[in-house]
């Protein structure tokens, strides 16, 4: 020992002191390895989730959530693609700088860095990822097999829906049909037909696994049904102009007796009309989930209500403004189509309980029309929180009248004009109701019949996000949208987001013309 101590007494004290130190050190050494092992206290981790039926339901619900995404983080509303990018509507808003990137879409000047374009891509793949998680994790869970089959069917539909969006907007895209491992991140684009094949396979499996609308419990209203899977498959076949399969499938949907036309057209777009008799696929939104602005609109409300309402007294942002050309379509047959009243607001008309539409009341903007299908009354506004992200209107994605009109179109192409007219006139009859002198049954044949079907789609489904895609798939886009800046060889597809070409070191190749 070092000669540290002067005498024995010092030594004795020192022993006490050293014992004290040793005790302290021993105690501190007792801190064991678990001390550093900390797992999150809120929320499960991947290792301990996906074990129970409840976990499976939570997993599929999380895959539904991206259906509601509208800001990821820029807006990618269905009506931007279907309506603003068509001759039915212009962007609107408070001026050119108000959502300028949407203006670029309207005028077909958007480039690869357009944020709306990137946000749509992002939201679609987020939905696909979540569906893939369900398809990979749920099969291993011990649970009710019937429920498991349904959940897998729902996931297949959701995956198909997002690929459907991608393939119709961008063409062939990377085929992320499973959760990607880091080595697969730079997945290149698949061909358009490969994507369509996946969409078709998924939808056929979904249709086989899913219950009919009437077979679901009431509390499951809003879940994907067999009819929804069949109807999206119908749209898939129609896009590929596989008319005979399309007609057969459409007839199957009609004959399932799950869907009827709502007698009162105006009611479809009201709160009472949500999930009505002709609703096949409807994205659910509600006004009472709180939350606020944020990526992917982190609540269950929609922004479409506030985006599409007039400014000023009506407290909206005034986007998706109907064009004169669109309104004139409703007068084409020599009378005012009664559906116009349910589709647009004209000056002097009451805007629900928010007052009468005058230009002064809208803040002095020069717009003559405002869209009506996403209009919400003051009385329907969010009971708490910020009303703007908490719009309650469901997005009516596929209605029975859409299926009927697609049936008419398919039948026409199959040379079955009588069947075509029958479905067409069924839609017109509902719109006509008891009104005299409007919407007589169509008796046209040949090209005139096809034009009648096209016209009917434009007015029946106006401002519901169909127009751009209808023009594109029927080959009329160049002629109709050309004057608006559309160039078929370029604008048939959106640009692939620039960030994605960079993020994959060029493994993803840009569409031509961008």
């Amino acid at each position: 020992m070092l000669n540290l101590f002067k005498n024995k007494n010092d030594m004795k004290h020192s022993i006490i002191r050293f014992l004290l130190v040793a005790g302290v050190l021993a105690t501190s050494a007792a801190c064991n390895k678990d001390f550093l092992d900390r797992k999150p206290l809120v929320g499960a981790t991947e290792e301990n989730f996906y074990r129970t039926e409840a976990d499976a339901i939570a997993a599929i619900n999380a895959a539904y959530a991206p259906l509601q995404f509208e800001l990821s983080p820029a807006g990618h509303f269905r009506w931007i693609w279907g309506d603003v990018m068509s001759d039915d509507a212009i962007k609107g808003g408070s001026g050119d700088n108000d959502a300028i990137e949407m203006l670029q879409l309207e005028t077909f000047t958007a480039q690869a860095n357009n944020e709306n374009v990137e946000s749509e891509w992002s939201a679609d793949y987020e939905g696909i990822y979540r569906a893939n998680v369900v398809l990979e994790r749920i099969p291993n869970i011990q649970m009710n097999e019937q429920l498991k089959a349904r959940i897998l069917g729902e996931a297949r539909f959701i995956r198909a829906w997002f690929f459907y969006n991608l393939v119709t907007l961008y063409g062939g895209v990377p085929l992320a049909d499973h959760v990607l491992a880091p080595s697969e991140y730079n997945l290149p684009r698949a061909s358009e037909s490969e994507v369509w094949t996946l969409v078709e396979t998924d939808l056929r499996e979904a249709a086989a696994a899913l219950p009919l609308r009437s077979e679901y419990a009431v509390s499951d209203l809003g879940r994907i049904t067999k009819g929804a899977a069949q109807s999206l498959l119908l749209k898939t076949l129609v896009w590929q102009q596989r008319w005979s399969e399309a007609q057969t499938l459409a007839e199957e949907i009609v004959n399932s007796n799950q869907y009827q036309l709502e007698p009162n057209y105006a009611k479809i777009f009201t709160q009472e009309g949500e999930n009505g008799p002709e609703s096949i696929f409807e994205i659910q939104y509600m006004n009472a989930s709180g939350g606020n602005w944020g990526k992917n609109n982190a609540n269950e409300g929609t922004f479409s209500n506030v985006f599409q309402r007039a400014r000023g007294q009506f407290e909206g942002y005034g986007f998706n403004i109907p064009t004169e050309n669109f309104v004139q379509e409703f007068f084409k047959e020599g009378f005012e189509d009664p559906r116009l009243k349910s589709t647009v607001f004209r000056v002097g008309e009451p805007m629900g309980d928010r007052g009468t539409f005058t230009k002064e009341a809208t803040g002095g903007f020069s717009y003559d029309y405002y869209p009506k299908k996403f209009f919400s009354n003051k009385s329907e506004e969010a009971p708490f929180g910020d009303p703007n992200p908490n719009g309650g209107s469901n997005d009516r994605v596929i209605r029975f009248s859409d299926v009927l009109l697609l049936h008419a179109e398919a039948a026409y192409h199959n040379g079955n004009e009588a069947a075509a007219r029958q479905s067409l006139n069924r839609v017109r009859a509902r719109a006509r109701g008891t009104l005299p002198n409007v919407l007589p049954d169509v008796t046209a044949t040949g090209a005139a019949l096809l034009d009648a079907i096209y016209h009917e789609r434009r007015v029946e489904l106006g401002l519901e996000g169909h127009r751009f895609f209808d023009l594109l798939r029927t080959g009329r886009a160049a002629q109709v949208l050309g004057p608006l800046g559309f160039n078929e060889s370029v604008h048939k597809y959106l640009p692939i987001p620039l960030s994605q070409i960079q993020a994959t070191n060029g493994a993803i190749v840009q569409n031509s013309g961008y």
Binding site: L4, R17, L20, V21, L25, S28, C31, F35, L36, D37, R38, P40, L41, V42, G43, A44, E46, F49, A58, N61, A62, Y64, A65, L67, Q68, S94, G95, D96, N97, D98, I100, Y125, E126, I128, V133, P174, A176, Y185, V218, S219, D220, L221, Q284, Y285, M286, A288, E300, R311, Q313, E315, G363, G364, F384, P387, N388, S499, Q500, Q502, A503, I508
Partner: protein
């Protein structure tokens, strides 16, 4: 011999030996000027010492003639006198200008400054006292080279951005704060009056002893304690000040606004608004900035008791601080009560116990800060001047032209009830054992616990002129009130054991070995609830259960997270002949924040110093002390979030089902997991010197350093096809290269004493890697352009501004046609942007770097003068070469008001070449991110001027006081800057990637205050 007798004999012997040796010595201690030094310490090794009285007198008993008396006094050179046969020893202490003998607190120990081989800066209590402020970081600003402090906001209590030697990471770059050995988050709880010294460990070698937490530098704060054998002192310090806005921006008045509105409508093809037909009739209108700013008081009272006896020391202090904001008065007010009890007690000769305990009760009220949407400032800048503050009936008016964000700011302030209260206890209990000469063991257990409540009430109000029509826009009314209450608890405990062996081997070798362990646990818990539709609209009734239906709209939430740290560390300091200095340290940290594959990190360092002036060949008299130093070390940054390595299956990814729309839970892992996650590593090399000249009157310290951050955490974007958020990975790196210097000169000329000094820091910041692929990071989205303002890319500094470059204004259609295509509706009067790549189209490829928010250099200048009881202190601080992106005007709205510079707008060929035409529509996107909004952010600010007068000692003696001083001071009296916004001092409010973006910074106040310091 029986035992009793033995005791008696031994006792007598001891008495005799004591009596035999006792020599009473007395005397007087004075300074060079002959003035008595009050409170100088006279230590007698092996016996009881003393402290000089009001006249400088002392009296001690020395054990023998061989005893030495050690005289010391702050700021003076310590003097040792052998007693010999003297009975009266008067001494004159020389001023120790050089400060090289001061003892500096370093991690887990202290060292004489002359023997330090790392880079450590010190701020003393006297410097802190010079600027009466709320937060201790404010006192650090401009005081030391290499430490850049910027206000995030002028709102009372708002945190500051503190960067030691540059921005080390795009993540959390805040230094580690240690108060009396306790690591703490945030310093708003500390009362600056309680601080004895602040030491900043700047280089990696000094900070290495803090291992995985030292990467951004370490700030060691020591609170005051009494001294042994010191008469009790009672000190009272108080001040009262008034704050006011130091600057006002000139905005358009109502008449000018109307003229421009008419012009804007006409140029967009619309008719002017009828009410603006006669602009002259509108007059000046409302000055919204005047409406939101008001003078606001601040006040502080401090009472402290210090002293010490043979075996103990104590400090007890209490402080009350109250400051209102210059925007919103007490709606942005800050109030703090602090109490501190520090004490030590020598229980046995070999055992000392002590406590440091601070208690704080802090209340703060918030107004929204630094965003473009809801701050009073942005609203006041953008609100049209035509709208009055109030209507004729006295109620608040709303604008007929604005919608969404720009609402009546005065009403918005009134409707804001956002209150924060926290109660915090930061305390340590320690014991120190002397095991053998030079061998000490210290064990300390400390706790930092905060219990905080945030209470937000949003009342019902409606500015509609017609309540039936409810005509006010959405932001001007809230028909359903709501309340949110959140409780937060932070708890940290730490247990540290340190063994130190300090031994001299003759005069040649001095070795200090330090080793220890740390265990630390952090836990944060929160719970809260909300409710709406309360029958009472009184904020004092805003409790969640005070509602008609207490269940219906109630919501509750809560959660917790935690982290832990286990460490072992060691350090060896070796001094050879007091000339050659060596130090090496190593720390091993195990942290729960690191992924399972990288749970332990090791952080080494070495440093060396050479005091050349001690060499026999050194002859220079003028340069009396010169030390050169070099150090290298590695530190970590563990502020990477608590669970970054795992992927949480996040609930709340909901959807709604059923006819009544029931919110149904969904869960999914949103982020890809990374089990390899670990700390960010900073390797730093430092070269420096310390020199003193002219009998210590001039001191000069300078350092050059290279600081490389590697393994910087970055969630590098992965392709969106993955569908989940990218994992954070240790993939990026940053380099900071800097030079800093500190010069001080002190002189005395008769009764005149002065000092002048300055410090200067330069740092160059460069991103050296952003991982494989190296995708740049865009951040700092501003609403006026609806785009990102900063781009962080390899080869550029963090958060550089990126956008278009303007090139004057198109004067004619021909000029538009001749230039690269911008937009089909681009018209004369619009801005010409440079077509940088010359492809004939101005698009995103024509963006470039247009500014850097990081200053080229920052500096501080101080001057102090004393003359016959008067003291004058002047302190300036500045930054140079940085840019600010001014995003305060909401160009995304068409009706907003603007600074008067818009009056120089283009109205026809030749009228302006920098201010574009006004138009309701902006097809050319004149408001896009461009150098138009990038301004020079350099400033020089007269931070503080203080003039004080102390009563002379002769008077003090008569009234029994030790000190009586009154002073007046002014903060932020002058600011020299070209920046057109409210305040050029802009921190990194949204993090390093968003530094220097002005989204409506709450400006700092000019403060005029008066105070007193009394000691008796």
């Amino acid at each position: 011999m029986n035992i009793k007798l033995t005791y008696i004999l031994v006792g007598l012997f001891m008495l005799a030996s004591v009596a035999q040796a006792q020599i009473n010595v007395s005397g007087r201690v004075t300074g060079a000027d002959g003035e008595a030094l009050i409170g100088a310490t006279v230590a007698v090794p092996g016996a009881k010492g003393a402290v000089t009285d009001l006249d400088g007198h002392y009296q001690v008993s020395a054990p023998s003639a061989e005893s030495e008396l050690v005289f010391s006094y702050i700021g003076m050179r310590t003097l040792t006198e052998k007693v010999g046969d003297r009975r009266v020893i008067d001494v004159v202490l020389e001023e120790n200008n050089a400060l090289i003998d001061e003892v500096v607190v370093v991690g887990y120990g202290s060292q004489k400054r002359s023997n330090i081989s790392g880079s450590v800066a010190t701020v003393t209590a006297a410097e802190i006292a010079e600027t009466p402020v709320l937060r201790i970081e404010q006192a650090l600003q401009g005081r030391t080279a290499g430490v850049q402090v910027t206000q995030n906001s002028g709102a009372p209590g708002s945190p500051l951005t503190v960067r030691i030697r540059g921005t080390g990471t795009i993540n959390n770059s805040d230094p580690l704060y240690i108060v009396d050995g306790v690591p703490v988050d945030g310093l708003d709880f500390l009362n600056p009056n309680d601080i004895e010294t602040i030491n900043v460990l700047k280089d990696a070698a000094s900070a290495a002893i803090y291992g995985s937490r030292g990467a951004n530098g370490v700030v060691l704060i020591t609170t005051r304690t009494g001294k042994k054998n010191q008469d009790g002192k009672i000190a009272y310090d108080a001040y009262f000040g008034m704050q006011s806005a130091w600057k006002k921006i000139n905005l358009l008045n109502a008449r000018e606004y109307a003229i421009l509105s008419n012009e804007a409508r006409v140029s967009a093809g619309q008719v002017p608004l009828p009410e603006f037909a006669y602009p002259d009739q509108l007059g000046k209108g409302t000055d919204w900035l005047d409406a939101i700013f008001s003078d606001a008081p601040m006040t502080s009272h401090q009472l402290s008791l210090t002293g010490g006896g043979d075996n103990s020391t104590y400090t007890i202090s209490g402080n009350y601080f109250d400051q209102d904001g210059i925007v919103g008065g007490n709606k942005s007010g800050f109030k703090r009560y602090t109490a501190r009890i520090n004490g030590t007690h020598t229980v046995k000769k070999w055992l000392t116990m002590g406590t440091n305990l601070g208690l704080t009760n802090l209340s703060r009220r918030f107004l929204p800060e630094n965003n473009e949407f809801t701050t009073p400032l942005v609203r006041a800048l953008n609100m049209d001047p035509v709208t009055p503050v109030r209507k004729s009936d006295g109620t608040y008016a709303y604008s007929r032209y604005s919608d969404t964000d720009i609402v009546n700011p005065v009403n918005a302030i009134e409707q804001t009830h956002d209150r924060w209260n926290s109660k915090r206890i930061v305390g340590a209990l320690f014991g120190e054992l002397s095991l053998a000469p030079g061998l000490r063991f210290r064990s300390s257990y400390s706790v930092d616990a905060t219990f905080a409540t945030r209470n937000i009430f949003y009342p019902r109000f409606d500015l509609s002129s017609d309540p039936v029509l409810s005509d006010a826009p959405a932001g001007e009314k809230n028909l359903i009130n709501s309340v949110v209450l959140q409780h937060n608890t932070w708890r940290t405990w730490q247990w540290e054991n340190v063994l130190t062996w300090d031994r001299h081997f003759g005069d040649t070798h001095h070795l200090t070995l330090t080793g220890g362990t740390t265990a630390l646990e952090n836990r944060f818990e929160y719970s809260g609830g909300a409710n709406t539709n309360l029958p009472s609209n009184d904020p004092d009734d805003a409790y969640i259960s005070n509602t008609i239906d207490p269940i219906a709209s109630q919501s509750a939430y809560g959660g917790a997270d935690e982290s832990s740290l286990l460490s072992v560390f060691g350090r060896a300091n070796y001094e050879l002949k007091e000339k050659y200095l060596f130090s090496a340290a190593l720390r091993a940290d195990g942290s729960s924040r690191f992924g399972p594959n990288n749970r332990y990190g090791y952080f080494p360092s070495v440093s060396a110093g050479w005091i050349i002036s001690e060499e026999s060949f050194w002859k220079s008299k003028a340069l009396e002390y010169l030390k050169i130093r070099a150090s290298w070390g590695q530190n970590g940054n563990d502020r990477i979030g608590n669970y970054g390595f795992t992927s949480v299956v996040l609930s709340g990814q909901n959807y709604t089902f059923g006819p009544t729309q029931i919110i149904t839970n969904g869960s999914v892992p949103l982020t890809v997991a990374n089990p390899d996650l670990r700390w960010e590593t900073i390797s730093q090399t430092d070269l420096g010197f310390d020199a003193t000249f002219l009998n210590g009157r001039l001191t000069w310290t300078s350092d050059f350093y290279i600081k490389n951050t590697s393994g910087m955490l970055y969630a590098a974007p992965i392709p969106l096809t993955v569908g989940a958020n990218p994992p954070v990975r240790n993939i990026a790196s940053v380099k900071n290269t800097g030079w800093e210097t500190d010069l001080q000169y002190r002189q005395r000329a008769g009764a005149f004493k002065y000092s002048i000094g300055g410090n200067f820091s330069m740092v160059r910041n460069e991103v050296t890697s952003l991982g494989e692929g190296g995708e740049p990071v865009f951040a700092g989205r501003v609403q006026s352009a609806n785009a990102s303002v900063t781009k962080t890319e390899v080869g550029q500094p963090i958060g550089a501004f990126y956008g278009y470059v303007t090139d004057g204004i198109f004067q004619t259609r021909e000029e538009v046609a001749a230039h690269a295509f911008q937009n089909e509706n681009t018209a004369p009067g619009d801005i010409r942007f440079k077509d940088l790549n010359g492809d004939g189209v101005v698009n995103t490829d024509d963006q470039t770097y247009i500014g850097n928010p990081i200053p080229d250099f920052t500096y501080g200048i101080n001057a102090d003068v004393e003359w016959k009881g008067f003291d004058l202190g002047i302190f300036l601080q500045g930054a140079s070469g940085n840019e600010i992106y001014n995003a305060t005007i909401r160009y995304d709205f068409t009706y907003v008001n603007r600074p008067v510079s818009v009056l120089n707008r283009w109205t026809g060929p030749g009228t302006s070449n920098n201010e574009p035409r006004v138009s309701l529509s902006d097809p050319n996107q004149n408001a896009r991110v461009s150098n138009r909004f990038v301004e020079d952010g350099s400033y020089l600010r007269l931070k503080n001027v203080q003039l004080g007068y102390s009563l002379p000692k002769s008077v003090l003696k008569r009234i029994g006081f030790e000190k009586f001083r009154v002073y007046a001071s002014a903060q932020n009296l002058f600011t020299f800057t070209k920046y057109s916004g409210m305040d050029p001092e802009i921190g990194a409010y949204g993090g390093a990637l968003e530094a220097g973006i002005d989204r409506g910074f709450y400006p700092q106040a000019r403060v005029l205050l008066g105070g007193i310091n009394v000691v008796f």
